[in-house]
């Protein structure tokens, strides 16, 4: 890893730390990612005409094995109502603070990870998770964030934050996690 790259990551970490201080609520612990295998990077790049966003991520993660850009697994989360993708007013502060952070640090990249609760069909849930991630993306862009700073991914119901077959678990799983990328 080049010195320049290390400096860039240090800046990101500082940005993330600064930002996490702004968020007053709904800050939860992301599933720690230590031990996550970042394999398959090469094969991702090998797909005909494939996107290269996967390999960019893989390259950055090789240092610490922590894909969250050194923020030690702590991210910001916006929660949603069942079968809904509109951002509730209580999360407007988070959206605005995130937008300020991104516009004042144009080299920051934020990944919006959409998730659903476990109910319903798995692939349709991927669609709902993507819709939630896109709702947050649009809200950030409306506050001036450049699209180039934002990426989305949907895990549907596949990466719950909490296990369980009741509303208390489901409510924590219907979410978009805001993850700064290295």
């Amino acid at each position: 890893m080049s010195m320049k790259r290390i400096m860039a990551i240090a800046c990101l970490m500082a940005g993330a730390a600064l930002f996490s201080g702004c968020a007053k609520k709904a800050t939860t612990v992301e599933p720690p990612t230590a031990g996550t295998q970042v394999s398959g990077t090469a094969s991702t790049a090998g797909a005909g005409g494939a996107s290269t966003s996967g390999s960019a991520y893989g390259a950055g993660a090789s240092g610490s094995g922590d894909y969250n850009g050194g923020a030690n697994g702590v991210g910001t989360v916006i929660y949603f109502d069942f079968d809904k993708s509109d951002i509730k007013t209580e999360y407007q502060d988070i959206v605005s603070a995130t937008a300020r952070n991104l516009t004042s640090h144009p080299n920051l990249k934020l990944r919006l990870e959409g998730n659903t609760d476990e109910r319903g069909t798995r692939e349709y849930n991927i669609g709902l998770g993507e819709r939630r991630a896109q709702a947050v993306k649009r809200a950030l862009m409306l506050e001036g964030v450049a699209e180039s700073q934002l990426t989305t991914v949907s895990f549907g119901a596949e990466r719950p934050a909490k296990e369980g077959d009741d509303e208390s678990a489901w409510a924590q799983n219907r979410r978009v996690s805001l993850v700064y990328l290295p």
Binding site: P31, P32, T33, G35, T36, Q37, V38, S39, G40, T41, S43, T44, A45, G46, A47, G48, G49, A50, S51, S53, G54, Y57, G58, Y67, E118, R119, G120, T121, R122, E123, Y124, I126, G127, L128, E130, R131, A133, Q134, K137, T152, V153, S154, F155, G156, E158, R159, P160, A161, K162, E163, G164, D165
Partner: protein
């Protein structure tokens, strides 16, 4: 006769090492009232065989699991003939059997066996089957499933699917240390083999029509990629790792194309077709709603899919030709999704939601389009037809865990495949 919750067939009799995988055990939760009585007499075994295999036990377990047969308890058998010549039909009739299977396991040479069997109609004394199958020790289980297949077909006129396989996703461990496995097992859940393992989600396994490969979605790069993996060699190659969503692979009947779900930059999910040889991509749907979960019609000319273009998710069908427009197929209820077409094309299995509970339902495609709710588990998703269309395998939850379950296509037989550990989800039944 009520067999509900009464019959537990333990099939996990193979000895496996303590590797971490989920063995499935079949529990018949609701059998068919008019199951056919059949005597499956223990086969003669060679006295000098190292580890004699119980052919009759496996055939009996298969037929029981189908819900359509009621094999006689071998403890009630007053004699155990091994050839038709030694059968006293009146005795077996008095014990209320309609059919009987007798046979022998013969040792032909080092690690070479012969399964000889005869099927009789006890009423007419007619010899319905007389066959032999040669196998080595490792092949005896498969050969015994083939015996069950032949008995099933001879008596019911439906091809047996006991000698087929199932793929499923197994999730082991708990947050934050989950492990995802793509597993292929025999149709009775025995002999699980790990095809792919990852610390990130694996989804949507789909069998190629020749049964040689699986397409699936892997998040191992923290982004979804669709892979095709050849089972015999373990070789795999990425088919789609485009920006955004890469999901829901479905093989065309000729095995040359995959339907899949991709997204535009603004997150609109639509269905596309990719030619596996040329990578040429064709867009099929263009609606701003979520279009996903495509499944090919048996003639390869159209796709069934889920779309929420009208509000909630409903099932549609669209021709794959340019300019073809979709037709909506489901109208009852606010949530109908993930269609799977039966092998004969006469019905769709799908997931329907009533009062917050998810069930497996079928839709008649040939007649008046009637639908029938088959299951009542509450979390029933991911239906997959047996290749003979007689049963639907699906995922549900029991005691807080993801498990697999089976329901006959008419809804009368219900079974659960309890897993020894972890969560089991997204079953896919292999072709013949």
């Amino acid at each position: 006769m009520n067999r509900a919750l009464a019959l537990i067939a333990l099939l996990g009799c193979v000895c496996l090492s303590s590797r971490s995988w989920a063995e499935l055990v079949v529990e018949v939760t609701h059998g068919q009232d008019n199951a056919i009585p059949i005597a499956i007499v223990p086969f003669a075994t060679p006295t000098d065989a190292a580890a004699p295999f119980d052919v009759a036990q496996l055939v009996s377990a298969d037929l029981t699991r189908s819900g359509r047969f009621k094999p006689m308890d071998r403890k009630d058998m007053i004699e155990q003939p091994h050839t038709g010549a030694n059968v006293i039909f009146d005795d077996w009739r008095r014990l209320n059997n309609d059919y009987m299977l007798v046979g022998q396991l013969q040792l032909l040479g080092p690690d070479q066996y012969n399964i000889v069997f005869e099927l009789f109609n006890v009423l007419t004394h007619e010899r319905l089957l007389g066959y032999q199958i040669t196998a080595n020790q490792a092949g005896l289980r498969l050969a015994s499933h083939q015996v069950a297949d032949m008995v099933f077909q001879k008596i019911l006129g439906i091809r047996g699917a006991f000698a087929t396989r199932i793929a499923y996703i197994s999730v082991l461990g708990h947050l934050p240390n989950r492990k995802y496995q793509l597993v292929v097992a025999d149709a009775d859940g025995v002999n699980p083999r790990i095809v792919m393992e990852s610390n990130e989600p694996l989804m949507s396994p789909a069998w190629s029509p020749d049964g040689q490969s699986l397409a699936y979605v892997s998040f191992e790069a923290r982004l979804p990629t669709i892979y095709v993996q050849t089972l015999k060699t373990g070789e795999r190659h990425p088919v789609s790792a485009r920006a955004g969503v890469n999901q829901a692979p479905a093989w065309s009947p000729d095995g040359k194309k995959l339907a899949l779900t991709l997204s535009t930059r603004d997150g609109n999910l639509d269905i596309y077709i990719v030619d596996l040889a040329t990578q040429a991509l064709t867009r099929v749907t263009t609606d701003p709603g979520i279009d996903t979960e495509a499944q090919w019609s048996n003639d390869g000319q159209s796709l069934y899919f889920t779309s929420d273009r009208a509000g909630g998710p409903q099932i549609y069908k669209i021709g794959i030709g340019p300019g073809d427009r979709p037709t909506r197929l489901t109208f009852q209820g606010a949530y109908n999704a993930r269609p799977r077409v039966s092998p004969d094309g006469s019905q769709l299995a799908f997931v329907t939601q009533e009062n917050g509970a998810y069930h497996i339902a079928t839709l008649d495609l040939k007649g008046r389009g009637e639908s029938q709710v088959l299951t009542h588990g509450g979390f029933d998703v991911s239906p997959s037809y047996a290749p003979n269309g007689a049963e639907i395998l699906y995922a549900t939850r029991a005691q807080g865990r993801g498990v697999l379950a089976l329901v006959s296509a008419d809804g009368r037989v219900q079974e659960r495949l309890a897993s020894s550990e972890g969560e089991v989800q997204e079953p896919a039944w292999s072709p013949f």
